[in-house]
Amino acid sequence: MADPLVVIVGAGPAGVRAAETLALAGLQPILIDEAERPGGQIYRQPPAGAVRPGIYGLEIRKAAGIHGVLAGLGAVDYRPRTLVWNVFQDRLDLLTIEGHGEQRFDRLILATGAMDRALPFPGWTLPGVFTLGGAQIALKSQGVSIGRRVALVGAGPLLPLVAHQYVGAGAQVVAVLDVTPFAPKLLQLLGLAAEPGTLAKGLWYTARNRMQGLAAAYGVRAIRAEGKRQVEALIYKDAMGVEHRIACDAIGASCGLRSETQLADLAGCAFVFDQVGRQWVPQRTGQGRSSVPAVYLAGDGAGIGGADAAELQGRRTALAVLEDLGRPVDLAEAARLDRRLARQARFRKALENAYPFPDHLLDDVADEEMVCRCEGITAGALREAARDKDAAEINRLKAFTRIGMGRCQGRVCGHAAAELLARASGVGIEGVGRLRGQPPVKPIPVLGGVP
């Protein structure tokens, strides 16, 4: 009998470790990834042939580990520059440089990762505003800064990290503004100590930034970008309510991360509301099983856990696949991974609580602000539909306003739209539901290959 066909989507830390575990167990998994080189976004590599800028900070060994795994494993059928744009029963629809294609699977591991959770603020569509993750990728993949005078604003551990990396690379960072208060970070220290190494790194980045004159301001509110044709300044109110204006030409801004869930949705996975991450995610067991027997979930694509947790989940999920295929499984290794994942979960809960969701940014969004960057749909249009057309559910709101129908398919606007709808309709954030995924999950040409 032929070996079962295990297909992994996503070559970040979760997907690579899943592929490695399956290959070492004697299988020949197919690893499909949209990017040109492995690493995902967290360990994003420069294009082939380019010199690595070398700015991973303290994570360089982990990054090198993930980048090097596949080279030592002949058994992995690695397919870069391949977009999976649909899942239908036991088949993936693909787009490669050669054109459209299909891939059948017996078992599917989705390791689709995450992106920044963007929240709208006045001026956020001006050229020069990027996500914090985008600002970081500009540096680590391209060796460039997003501007000459860069302001960084948002919530989450990326904020001090990007500041540290930018300053270390010689960029001029003019402000580090945290839209969440300082007190919760102290309160969560005990929980954060579940991962002492990661906590130490966070404290180190923050301390280094401070020594370099870049003390973060906490509890910042009412942020807005100003400029005629591009960013010229960032205006904000400090925790005391005093307004400040910082001249800058670029802004990195985002508030935590959101899971990339469309393929799990198309695969028919049941979803649950993740209270810690404040978002709908495909339901998974601690071993990576979804509600669909042939489909497994690893890494940030099914709830935010970070890169270290993603590596562990990739390995753990691969063991679950092996077990379900009736293959021998190292039970001691499975138990060890379960213990480490439990510790990661405690850490993640504390981390999310240390950066509580910045409700005030949503409360401040004026009617004329664009929520949808793709098509310019405003907060006012959403509120009007919620009020006059009784659109109390996010897919109804989508039908009335086109929110979530643009090129990004709701990746950027979806969370903000749901938050605004929850406020307008008086239903809780959980009650407005989630945008359903639709194929193609990303724009595809009718003719030709991957752009």
Binding site: A35, A50, M115, F130, V144, I146, G147, R373
Partner: protein, 97 residues
């Protein structure tokens, strides 16, 4: 015209010549199209739904904000496409053209 991005790490790769709105400019091997354009210009394209421009947002092929138009009719997502010699990028043309 001043670029938005600034290079912090020197690129030693081969020079790549391409054009932006007809003007000849230089990039380096290993530059993504987005980097190549934004090192020379403050934006990548005009916005189709209003009087403004866009310069990309997420840099990880998710937000689809950085699709640019080439004179030969190709539309490319600039953050996931390496720059190639001879590309003729249109930044300030009709976005629906």
């Amino acid at each position: 015209m001043a670029g938005l991005f600034s290079r912090l790490v020197k690129r030693t790769g081969a020079s790549i010549l391409f054009t932006i709105d007809g003007e000849a400019v230089e990039a380096r091997e290993g530059d993504l199209l987005m980097t190549a354009i934004l090192l020379h210009r403050p934006a990548l394209r005009r916005f189709e739904f209003g009087e403004s421009s866009r310069a990309g947002f997420c840099m990880m092929a998710a937000c689809q904000d950085c699709w640019v138009l080439l004179a030969d009719g190709r539309r490319l997502r600039a953050c996931s496409t390496p720059v190639e010699p001879g590309m003729a990028v249109i930044v300030d043309g009709d976005p629906n053209g």
